[in-house]
């Protein structure tokens, strides 16, 4: 059966050009880039070219780029590194982040809070926006770091990093941006946005899982997560994930040229899909900020039902999506992103994320709408909440 993949925010397929580019590194180009001989040197050159591609994509210099095992490592490195460095320097022990960060920022901040770090978690409004006034008001003399994501993985909301950067600069606070969902999809400029630390992850832009990069503004220094060999100028020890790094370089090189066209093309499809779903399925609502969202993503709640059933039924019909539902993640609570927007629990449980990619077609989406209509109707027919609601409606009439 043909599969329709609408879960690009979870992970993208590896694009063909990237696959072709990395295959030689599974073959004759196998040297350790730290080695002095030819086998090592050719790989070293390839790694440095990839670094240059990353730098160019975010308007940084290549000496500011460190390769990592992904955005989780990058975000831990920034937060834990900042904490370690703070502890040494005994000042600026307050950081500000938000309630809607990815778990690798949120959980890590919560853990550091337990260890003595002072953390403010900014709330969001009903569409997931933060208030810049609240952000500015939260800055205190001991505030050292603001950590805010560029694009939320669940809602697709875009945060105003440039304005946040201006606020940070004004108050002499460092800015860390988790750009895992942004790099490769929208223009990112660390200079214009006044960013001090930025993290990205290859598998969000058609490269490989388990490889990422971080930007550290020249002159900033935080203690590394891992020490050992002299790799990555001592900022991140350990033999490099060569295929992952090469993949990132190639994928970003291609992405830079394609970004603008994607933004038009994929947005058109997303909007078409979203409109059809809202028009054709009742009691349905978009979660997030429709006026400020990445073009790939729509997160929709289908009242009266639980999300896991939706993704299971779509999966059986050949469609891959994800949900913020509790049951689906293995935890007992629905997505912290959705609940922090004060979405009623019944709606939160049915939140379903459709994230489109370069290969998505109108036919895919038409088929998905058809299956979805049937799925929602069926699951509602099982639901005591829907039954009750319909009976009350009838009584009211």
């Amino acid at each position: 059966m043909k599969r329709i993949y609408l879960d690009h925010n979870a992970s993208t397929p590896v694009r063909e050009e990237v696959k072709q580019k990395v295959i030689p590194f599974l073959g004759e180009m196998f040297g350790n880039p730290s080695s002095r001989h030819k086998e090592g040197r050719v790989v070293r050159v390839a790694v440095e070219n990839a670094r240059e591609e990353v730098a160019r994509t975010i308007n940084a210099s290549s000496r500011e780029i460190t390769f990592t095992s992904g955005a989780t490592e990058g975000n831990n490195a920034v937060l834990r590194g900042y904490w370690q460095s703070y502890k040494e320097r005994e000042k600026k022990n307050h950081i500000i982040t938000t309630a809607i960060e990815h778990p690798c920022v949120l959980t890590t901040s919560q853990k550091l809070k337990k260890e003595g770090f002072d953390v403010t978690f900014l709330p969001v409004d009903s569409v997931g926006r933060i208030s810049l006034d609240e952000l500015e008001a939260a800055i205190r003399p001991e505030t050292g770091l603001v950590s805010i994501m560029m694009i939320n993985n669940e809602t697709g909301n875009i945060y105003p990093i440039e304005r946040i950067g201006e606020i940070c600069q004004k108050h002499n606070v460092l800015l860390h941006v988790d750009a895992a969902q942004a790099v490769g999809k929208v223009p990112v400029d660390v200079k214009k946005m006044h960013i001090d630390f930025l993290t990205l992850s290859g598998h969000k832009f058609y490269a490989l899982k388990g490889a990422g990069a971080m930007y550290t503004k020249w002159g900033r220094w935080i203690k590394p997560l891992m020490t050992g060999g002299h790799q990555e100028k001592n900022r991140r020890s350990g033999t490099e994930n060569i295929v992952g790094i090469i993949a990132i370089g190639e994928a970003l090189k291609l992405a830079r040229d394609e970004m603008d066209a994607d933004a038009v093309q994929i947005k058109k499809l997303r909007d078409y899909f979203e409109k059809r779903v809202l028009d054709e399925i009742p009691y349905t609502q978009v979660l997030g900020d429709p006026s400020n969202r990445i073009y790939t993503t729509t997160n929709i709640s289908f009242k009266f039902i639980e999300g896991e059933g939706i993704i299971l039924k779509l999966d059986v019909a050949g469609i891959a999506v994800s949900t913020g539902s509790a049951c689906s993640s293995g935890s007992l609570e629905p997505s912290h992103v959705i609940t922090s927007m004060n979405v009623p629990l019944e709606d939160a449980h049915s939140s379903t994320r459709f994230s489109l990619g370069k290969q998505t077609t109108k036919e895919d989406l038409d088929y998905t709408v058809d299956i979805l209509k049937d799925t929602i109707a069926t699951l509602r027919s099982y639901s005591p909440l829907y039954d009750e609601f319909m009976r009350n409606q009838q009584k009211g009439e």
């Binding site: 009266f304 049951c327 007992l332 099982y382 909440l385």
Partner: protein, 127 residues
Amino acid sequence: MEYTEKVMEHFLTPKNVGRLDDANAEAEIGNPACGDIIKLYLKLNEETGIIEDISFQTFGCGAAIATSSMTTEMAKGLTIEEALELTREQVADELGGLPANKMHCSNMAADALHKALKEYQEKHPKK
């Protein structure tokens, strides 16, 4: 975390879904916070105490729907006493097992069954 074939079968084509209009016992369990609500409807033979018909409505994940379906299938035709001995574990076993994190909150249909039966017994004390 994977569902067994049997779970998927009961999720995709659940048995005994919907309201039972001539029910003489019912119970609801769960709440939207935990993500599962199960409502059971039973038609008990007032003479024999046999469950002549049973149905469910469930708001919940795949496992919640599948366990509801399986519970109704297993309970149908049992006497009250027999049905009171039906456990969550038996339901899970009959489905070929459930993922560990689904055993607790998504496997509550047996509890709803017991609740309905006990309320029925209170209202219909043995003569």
